[in-house]
Amino acid sequence: MKRLTLNQVARANLAANRKAYVSLFLGILLAVFLATATSLCAWGTVRAHEEQMAERVGWMDMFLLNSDSPTDEQLRNCGFFSELGHATVIADVGETGVSAGYYDETGARLINRTLKEGRLPVKAGEMAAELSALIRLNLEKAEIGDTLTLDLQPAGGVSEQRTFTLVGILNEQSEYLETYSDMPGMRLPSLLVSPEEKSFAVGRSIVHRVLTYAPLITYNQVNRNCPLDLAAAYAVSRESGTITYYDSGWERARRTVERIMIWAILGAALMLSTCVGITAAMESLLARKTQDIGMLRAIGATRRQIRRIYGAEAWVLSATALPVGLLLGILVTWIVTLISPKQVVFSLNPWLLLLILGLSVLCVFISSRLPLYRASRQMPMGVLRDTAMLRKVGSLRSRIPFAPARRIAGRRAALHPLRHLGAAGMTALTLVCAMLLGELALGMHLSSAEDTAAFKLYGGFPDSQDPFTQAISPEGTDIRGELRQISALDGVSSVSVYTSLNANLLMEKVPEYLRPYQYDETIEDGSVVVINVEVLDQAMGYPSDWMFYSPEDLANARSRRFHDWRLGLNVECADQAEIIRGLLGITESIVPVNVCVVDLDLEALQQFVTDGSIDAAELDSGRQALVYAPTVCIRHYEKGHGINRYLLPGEIRDSEWDKIIRNDAFTAGMELDLLEMTLPAGYGSYGYDEDVPLEADAEPSVQTDRNAYFQSAETIRTKVSVGAVLSGPLAIRNIYMSGFTVILTENGAKALGLQLPSPRFASVYLSEDPSPEKEAELEEAISQCCMRTGMGMENQLQVTRDYTNKKLRQILLFAGLILLFFAVSVFMQISDAARRIRSDTRMIGTLRAVGADLKTLVGCYRLPVWICAGLGLVIPVLFYGFCAVSGLRLFTVQHPFLLIPVLAVMAACIALACTVGIRSRLASVTRQPIVENIREL
């Protein structure tokens, strides 16, 4: 006689209950599918960003400019680097800051030079170039195939003229890898020549090294622990796509985590929900088998054998569902990448796939184990009487009268929560996911730019290095004249100009309000940094601490020879101020301030007024100025990401902030004493190197230089009274305020006699949306003006169009995902209900026999649906609350009043769809005679 094996029992079991297993199969399939799709999408988004950034800065982590030490050998052996390539600069092109050179094989791979057009040079006399390099060489009209003649200057050699054929245009990299070094050859080549290019008679090539970190090594570790001298090294951040001096590794990890976070939360929620789904399916499957299990136990099967028999089902199903789910996930990811190619890249990582498989198997294992364990723990005879249920009976409350449907549904949920509420929990989780997606889509949608400018122009910057003075724009350019021409163009309604100038406030005493706030913060890597919050928005990089130093402090600092750059700047500022006071014979303190000259949108400004009132006529006549004196609210790092906010007084809750800097010095009606010092452009920057201690004997000559420097300035001193004090997060149209600022209109500034430098920005507004031809015509006309004056131009219409398109695609993607979730929820609920209805036909028959109608029967199954809808609503609301209370800024969480009603509608739709599905299921059961329902199986 053949032996009956456990596997045979399991197989027979499978064959006999095909229908019930389909839902379990689908549960497992869903788990694998969701795991695959979410992890591949997460991986894809990270890859997409990396690839975008690699176009700018390649795959390298660091590059070392021209240095002999450490040697290649040392770099390879120190254990901090994994790959080493070389970039060779053969020569610079004159004084243009453009270098020509080539890479070795590893170097080329790490630098990731991609071609926009044409091909790479392969033999001597050929060249590929970045467009920006060609523009710097005044060769922007050059096309592929043209012959270029360049003056090449090798390091330590003599200039030599060579002729090249342009064979390709390279992607832009030098812009992002700019080293700002004036030394010849000290940058990566932006003109690519062939390694076969013949060497120069005099002079030498300069070799730079390109490096990647060894796995798990970060910039910080290299910086702290690498024994080699890496002073000439530049770290590259593939996160921001620029050169950095920060820990790019840490930063990258943080951003990557942020980027993956959303997918991870989605994936985890979905996985969890499918786990619950599988558990519920397994539980109800085993519930049908209690008799069999009791029988098997009665004839002597051990618990282990029971687990094996019924666990085998889960594994057989997994084995078939795994590959299908995996393929489905890959397919969906592929579709996602087609919809949104910039955000997600289709990339199959074998390790990731392996991880997904492992996770799925774990998910199936855990979720099938619990019901199996419980089933196998039942006592042989107990199974037949369902002891688990009887044990709970003590806690039942029986109140009379009762609504039968509700009582039955509630009792079932209480007695078998997993079996009856599993799908509900799962649906609730999918609703939460839909909420997160909605939040995300909404956040993206509502954060669109508010400026309606059609074209944005970027003018010259006042390039003064000193806080007290400003240099005016290069002579011979009439930017304001050109802007007037632009505003006269047909179709242009207005041109709004933003000019900022450095001026000085003369004050008897520098108010405490303008004092910078300093505190220590421990950042992620454990190091302590001093954070400096300045209320004063003025010349870049200049500290305002100097105004508060006593003469003794400064003397002490000077004698210590400023090894601290900030201290050096402080002393320098104090010295300059002293000289200016001497030259002009003033006794007041000099406070450098930013004066913003701009077309004011008075109506929009009203909301920021905290004192006084805005009077257009007074402003234009130069009698009044506006002062933006924000209240700065500061939260330290450890209490929530180191936030600085500019808030209006009514919005401030003191307890939230570690420090609040309030304006106690500027009020409406007070008089401002303004001093403007203007230097002609082209004046060499005032030479002062804070790294080199001043030698005592060098001071007199520096002193002379300073005197001469400030004496050459054209000085304007004028008085204006404060019309209104503004505060809050002032950002309207083309104005964005970032600290204490004096605001004037152009007419007002002229009336005051101030000398205006060239505008910083200008925004061109159109009277109506232009036709494509009109837009092209305007763009051409405006770009002509820009070319003449050296301004940059951005077609904001095009930017907006691109942005809108991108957003539309994203919203489509999200809408698709939400719809998918919706379908999945409804499907889960209905199939779960169908499964329960199948195993409940006898109870249904009984209820029918004692007179229950269809409505009552539907009521018995509707509870999980309502619970799911309720949970799906409550969880997001709680989540919102949690985010609001804890200050967690995972999501924008700005639109609960918009999103919660939408969720309510969605939950109601799910409930309705599920009810309809359940009803039709039950209707098909009730079409049979009752006898068929209650017939013993």
Partner: protein
């Protein structure tokens, strides 16, 4: 007065080419307040007849007339209302709702009808059936006999017009069986409930006013309403 009638009732089960006539052209009439026992050997079609008469099953042909209305012309909702108000059914295998306590099971038809339970009546029923101490238990914790008595209480809770019972004493020992039967009989007489009872126990059948014997789906003997019952 006639309360229930069936005309040319047929129920045929088909499997492949062979057909089983479980109920074969039966026409019967039941007087209001009468107690009819249907007997016969296993497979003679007793239970099928009972299911057809009570509307739990649909006939292949023929009709069941309850108070001049054809049962199978009613829609599902009307039938449901009829079942919970006018019919009571005692199942051989009890069919109690596992999740509801004994008391809740008993009250089920009343609650389905959204009516206030008649407490005095229910108390009397429960006392008579001797299940007063088991009311808070789930059916799983009750013995077969107790479950059967809960089932009977449920069938009578709504004071139905007709009580259908399928081997109501099948799972009870002889003494209890007789007690339960007597009880059903007493209650029925008191309320004028018509009783149709299926049994293969002749001792039980003896207590009925009328005994109908089935053989192969046909009526093989009908005692008619016996004289002593009429008296």
């Amino acid at each position: 007065m006639e309360i229930l009638r069936c005309d040319h009732l047929c129920k045929t089960y088909r499997s492949g080419s062979s057909a089983v006539h479980a109920v074969d052209d039966i026409s019967l009439s039941f007087e209001q307040g009468s107690f009819t026992a249907v007997t016969g050997k296993s497979g003679s079609g007793k239970s099928t007849l009972l299911h057809l008469l009570s509307g739990l099953d649909r006939p292949t042909s023929g009709q069941v007339i309850y108070q001049d209305n054809d049962l199978f012309r009613y829609n599902d909702n009307q039938l449901s209302v009829l079942r919970r108000r006018r019919f009571g059914f005692v199942f051989q295998s009890y069919n109690l709702v596992r999740e509801l306590t004994a008391q809740e099971n008993i009250l089920l038809p009343v609650m389905l009808d959204n009516r206030k339970p008649d407490d005095a009546w229910l108390k009397r029923l429960i006392d008579m059936l001797g299940i007063g101490d088991r009311l808070e238990h789930l059916p799983g914790a009750l013995s077969g006999g107790q479950q059967q008595r809960v089932c009977i209480a449920r069938a009578l809770a709504n004071k139905p017009a007709i009580l259908f019972a399928d081997e109501p004493t099948g799972n009870l020992d002889g003494k209890t069986g007789r007690e339960v039967l007597t009880l059903m009989r007493t209650v029925s007489m008191e309320l004028g409930i018509t009783m149709v009872l299926v049994t293969h126990d002749l001792g039980v059948a003896e207590q009925a006013d009328r005994i109908i014997r089935l053989e192969d789906g046909k009526v093989a003997g009908d005692s008619g309403i016996r004289k002593e019952a009429l008296e």
